[in-house]
Amino acid sequence: MLNDPAALIIRKKTWDGYFLLALRSPRVARRAKPGQFLMVRVSGQPYPLLRRPLSIHARDEEGVEIFFARSGLGTAILADKKTGETLDILGPLGKGFVIPATAKGKSFCLIGGGRGIAPLYFLARELRAKGGHPRVFYGGKTEADLPLIRKFAALKTEVFISTDDGSLGFPGLVTAMVEKELARSARPARIYACGPDPMMKKIAGIAAGLNIPAQLSLESIMGCGIGACWGCVRKVLRGGSAEWVKICEEGPVFASREIVWDL
């Protein structure tokens, strides 16, 4: 993990409420693994004060990409950045997704809700590179929440689409679609998911019911992203007992069975 105060924005893509920035930062890129994240400074001023946690959406030798939804002031400021400007980033942070050494030939179920899709693209590529078969379940409230369908399709993975309002694909929650699909297809080697808490909790239940190991990426408001503030904790089993564990350091990805849900 390191601080690149001047990661150059070399490409920008915009959809309705969603944004992608490609950043030149070879040193961060070199270390990046799927499921890890960056802490991005959105302003050089004391307002907004904190950095924003954003997943690493993709990487190559030269740099990394972030993909995010405009959801508040910080992401709105980021959304206004232009190619040629620089960003101050910390990363790569956290532990990321565990990919089995024996991924080859196996099938994986990747589930992303809305902006939660962000880390799954990097993961899907990595699984592909290791000879695995990622199947992507991509859900949103409505059609506009699914800007990355083609990008995933270009990986030659199966992409299952759902929208809460039925405007595209399976009508209903992405978890309902996953349940239906898992019921009728072969059991995947592992589930990977990222999205809001209620969705993660639901997936934890599905995975437990079918006895599929699952890796869930959790969210929490973060003060530092580097384990220094104890602000980002979630309840996780450690040595049999529930503890407040820093997700920036030991997560944001956890094995589903470790996570204690008391929502």
Binding site: I221, A228, R234
Partner: protein, 309 residues
């Protein structure tokens, strides 16, 4: 440029320390700063036993500020000595332990336990955390409790004792004087201001603990005022903090009389902040041809018309 500071009981390479609770146990910042360039490191608050801390959400952002309700989650003194201190060995920078207690006796127990450890340069007695008792209650809200607790701690302690005060009081000077009379070697302030934020969508507090402590640039004007009031009324050294983001901020605290400063929330925003601030102080002094940082301390000029009020 001579940046050294003599606190009487401790010599510092420079006046910039990392503030407790915002710098982990120091180790977290090794990738970002050369820890040896700091004046000192105040590690995260330690109880005798491990502490679970408060339920999340523990953080909420406000305008130029951060509200936290961590509640002093920590590993306890034993794990600290066994697991952390060995990793900090070899540092030239003094390590100061921020001492916490549920009861007065626990404070004394933490001190007792750590007294023997030659790797620690001193204690910062945290009698001012707003996140552990109901509605921010803590010893530093009362001069009487401050006096008795500091006295007890001082009797237990073989190391220098810095007492950290709360800004949530009517009369900061009376609390500072109580600490001084009870034998404190230095005073540090401010801890966070008791605060709150509400999510109007859910109508719930943004922090699970309802209340939290406000820090960051938002509080700097209040912190600076209190540091000035205290520094001009006690004889022991004062370590100032609250919202310091830059060398210029730090210099304001030194000018009103702080002998050193601690950098807190800034470490989250810029993990290199503490060492950058040392550099910025250095540059300012060079530019102004100030030879010794001690020549700046307490040099606030008050005009006649001001003094008359």
């Amino acid at each position: 440029m001579d940046l050294t500071i003599d606190l009487g009981f401790l010599k510092l390479r420079n006046p910039v320390l990392a503030a407790s609770g915002t710098f982990g146990y120091g180790l977290e910042f090794k990738p970002f700063v050369n820890l040896d360039k700091l004046g000192g490191i105040v590690v995260k608050g330690l109880y005798f036993n491990p502490r679970p801390g408060n339920p999340p959400p523990r953080l909420a952002e406000s305008a130029s500020g951060l509200i936290n309700s961590i509640g002093l989650q920590g590993i306890g003194v034993r794990a600290f000595c066994e697991k952390i201190l060995p990793q900090l060995q070899g540092l030239r920078t003094p390590i100061i332990v921020n001492v916490c207690g549920e009861t007065d006796e626990e404070y004394a127990a933490v001190i007792d336990y750590l007294n023997k450890d030659g790797r620690i340069a001193g204690f910062e007695l945290n009698i001012s955390c707003p996140n552990v008792k109901k509605e921010g209650r803590c010893p530093a809200l009362s001069p009487e409790h401050t006096f008795s607790l500091v006295k007890l701690a001082k009797e237990s302690s073989r190391l220098p004792l810095i007492v950290k005060l709360s800004p949530n009081v009517t009369d900061i000077v009376s609390v500072a004087r109580a600490a001084e009379e009870a034998g404190a070697d230095a005073i540090s302030l401010i801890n966070t201001l008791l605060a709150m934020a509400v999510d109007i969508e859910t109508r719930r507090p943004r922090l699970a603990n309802t209340f939290g402590g406000l820090s960051g640039p938002a509080v700097k004007p209040i912190a600076l005022r209190m540091v000035y009031q205290v520094a001009s009324r006690v004889r022991i050294p004062v370590i100032g903090m609250g919202g310091i983001m830059t060398g210029r901020d730090a210099l304001e605290f030194l000018i009103v009389g702080a002998k050193a400063v601690e950098v807190g929330t800034a470490n989250f925003v810029d993990p290199g902040a503490s060492v950058r601030i040392v550099r910025e102080i250095n540059e300012f002094c060079r530019e102004k041809k100030i030879k010794k940082i001690e020549d700046i301390i307490g040099t606030l000029k008050i005009d006649e018309v001001q003094a008359s009020r």
